[in-house]
Symmetry: C2
Subunit: 199 residues, 2 copies
């Protein structure tokens, strides 16, 4: 399943309809076997709209990633909670604690992220996406320090560490062992208790 | 650069020569643009040897991964050091602290791991590879607890957490931001000090 409400406006909006077709084709074929034709086959409107908007498969996929990131940026959860609650909610959301629902979408992200090894457009996207999540975690940690619930840690170092953990959990969740991800999650909680929470 | 001595026997041994050709073709083209023909172009011996040994690109790549894993299994470093030293050496080696030398090889691993999202042969390989590194870290932690340098933590949970961090560091090292990886590494050291080292 795609993230909640990701394609909410699909009935009216051409870009959203293209993105939804891209999502379906990605889940059916994966990156390696994906073609523009296979995306077009999932698209109900005029195919020329799809070709008109994009220069090729990779251009369309980078646009798909930007579309999904915009959605996350607009839907940052629970701004009213405490820093500790917000941090745990964010880590749960990004690391996909509901594997049945999120594994498909996270699998797409893992596959597309691997394209960034050799492709600068994909790399630029993931640099921007990492920056967004990093800055968001930094804000939460700085807030927690200010409100006295977190210790006086280095927010940049802690955020980098947590985002690296999340990247690893996404990979292992979709290409490895669920038990390892459950154990990782348990240790993340102990890490937050031991290193972040104030006495 | 490939890991040290990975293709040491390449002058005599056909399989090693095929693996070295595969490595070169992967670094030149990446997974998506790799073909058996491009691997054959890097191969100095008779092409029929290459086709004879493998059923196709993915079969050859899974064999390449097994070949590299065998190499790591045979070259586990510094068995005589303390548990703490062995753990830090292993984490450094796997997370590629020498980016200039290791980024190329780690990039290949990140790309091939993403194939495991949709391909069971790749997934089986990485399950086995995760199991090897997991068990190795568990052994080191259990040894550290026994020799009294580590606290009485859960070795399975700690090993899962560290291996997830390493997976994330490999991804970020090759598709993201080096500064983030440096910060992650600094926090891994503080994590080991805070959660693992006995008082």
């Amino acid at each position: 399943m795609p993230p909640e409400a990701l394609f909410e406006e699909s009935a009216d909006d051409t870009r959203t309809a293209i993105m939804e077709a891209t999502y379906r084709a990605l889940t059916d074929y994966g990156y390696a076997d994906l073609t523009i034709q296979r995306i077009a086959d999932e698209f109900d409107k005029s195919k020329s709209l799809l070709y008109h908007h994009h220069d090729g498969k990779d251009d369309l996929l980078v646009d798909f990633l930007e579309f999904a990131l915009d959605h996350f940026e607009d839907n940052v959860p629970f701004r009213d909670d405490t820093a500790d609650e917000r941090l745990r909610t964010l880590l749960d959301a990004v690391a996909a604690t509901k594997p049945e629902a999120d594994e498909e979408f996270v699998g797409i992200l893992v596959e597309l992220r691997a394209q960034a090894v050799n492709d600068d457009d994909f790399r630029d996207h993931f640099l921007g996406s990492d920056r967004f999540f990093h800055d968001h975690i930094v804000d939460i940690i700085a807030e927690g320090i200010e409100e006295g619930t977190f210790r006086d840690v280095d927010p940049e170092q802690t955020a980098s560490f947590l985002l690296t953990l999340v990247s690893g959990a996404m990979v292992r969740n979709t290409t490895g062992n669920q038990v390892a991800v459950e154990r990782t999650r348990a240790e993340i909680r102990e890490y937050i208790d031991a290193r972040l929470l104030a006495d």
